[in-house]
Symmetry: C2
Subunit: 186 residues, 2 copies
DNA sequence: GTCTATAGAAGGATAGAC
DNA sequence: GTCTATCCTTCTATAGAC
């Protein structure tokens, strides 16, 4: 699974080969297929394992907590997830950039329900004047965009800042928290 | 070229086939190869045509202008580019998510020089107190992340908001400008 | 310039020995 | 469980007719 994650996240589904995965896993190609019922099955297994984990940070947003604290904590959880699991983040990014053919049902189902629910919570916080009035959906999208950018587009950041940093996430947490503090201020 | 852009942006380089491109272009496969010297050459031609255009919005940032106005105008140009050329945006996104193997030299060269130059301009604006003091590199990255998100991850936005909107960019301009207005306020 | 036919390599998957 | 050998499909690219 780790070998497959490595390969799929770096080349996308169609760009990856069983050969690469097998070599990466230190196995022969038929031996990989002994454990998984084909290339697609490996990919599905990877995504399935991940989908739930990926929802956790948003799921943990507590409607009864303080709006600003809850949202900043959510942002911190997302940043940590992206930083600790950049390959998983790029596995999703590859899928979505290419039209999300294999996770369409997840996006239209579980994720959508969760986003609708949490957007309503955020809207209430805004109505109550706890945070600035903004489109709650766009606010969620902006959190995703900013937190995942450091993992998904890591190559771009690395090539641009080669001399100055070694980790694309350097300074990201402090920066992202600072700007969302400004954004959310009522 | 348009057929190739369509295919490459939707499937990535390795995920695309000459068959798809040929069918999309209404030509036979050998006829496509009569015009281009191989699959890689088509991809290179597409990227080369695009790289310059992609730098234009940042290049137009005027050091002698008003900081806030210049940055908001830059954001507006980036949003328009992403909205008008989503396939081109995804062509880049595919490349970068997969480690930017074919545009590494562009990122480390032209783009890096331009970003360094404009980051210095932004730093001066900050020192002069025209806008809030932030890391200028992270500020540029955050503009990229937020503007491109609506094109690159369009599928995700569409599946989540299926009933409510038809265009992933709906409300994006007003939202992004609003939050950068808050972010930049000194 | 455009096509059909096909070469040659690579990829997914299976058979069958151990 | 793990391998080698191999089948069959798909893919890039070329040959050569028109």
């Amino acid at each position: 699974m780790d070998a497959a994650l490595q390969v799929f996240s770096a080349h996308g589904f169609r760009g990856s080969t069983l050969d690469q995965i097998a070599i990466n896993a230190g196995l022969s190609k038929p031996n990989v297929l002994y454990y998984f019922n084909g290339k697609e099955a490996i990919h599905v297994a990877l995504l399935s394992d991940l989908l739930d984990t990926w929802l956790d940070p948003l799921r943990a947003l507590n409607p009864n907590g303080n709006a600003r604290d809850e949202l900043l904590a959510y942002i911190r959880r997302k940043l940590e997830l992206a930083r600790n699991f950049p390959r998983e983040s790029r596995l999703f990014a590859n899928e979505i950039v290419q039209g999300a053919p294999r996770i369409e049902n997840f996006l239209k189902g579980e994720l959508r329900i969760l986003v609708d629910e949490k957007a309503a919570v955020i809207a209430e916080w805004m109505d109550a004047g706890q945070i600035a009035k903004l489109d709650p959906f766009h606010l969620i999208f902006s959190i995703w965009a900013l937190t995942q950018h450091y993992s998904d587009f890591e190559a771009q950041i690395r090539f641009i800042r080669a001399d100055n940093i070694t980790d694309s996430h350097d300074g990201a947490q402090s920066f992202v928290e600072t700007i969302f503090d400004k954004i959310l201020a009522p």
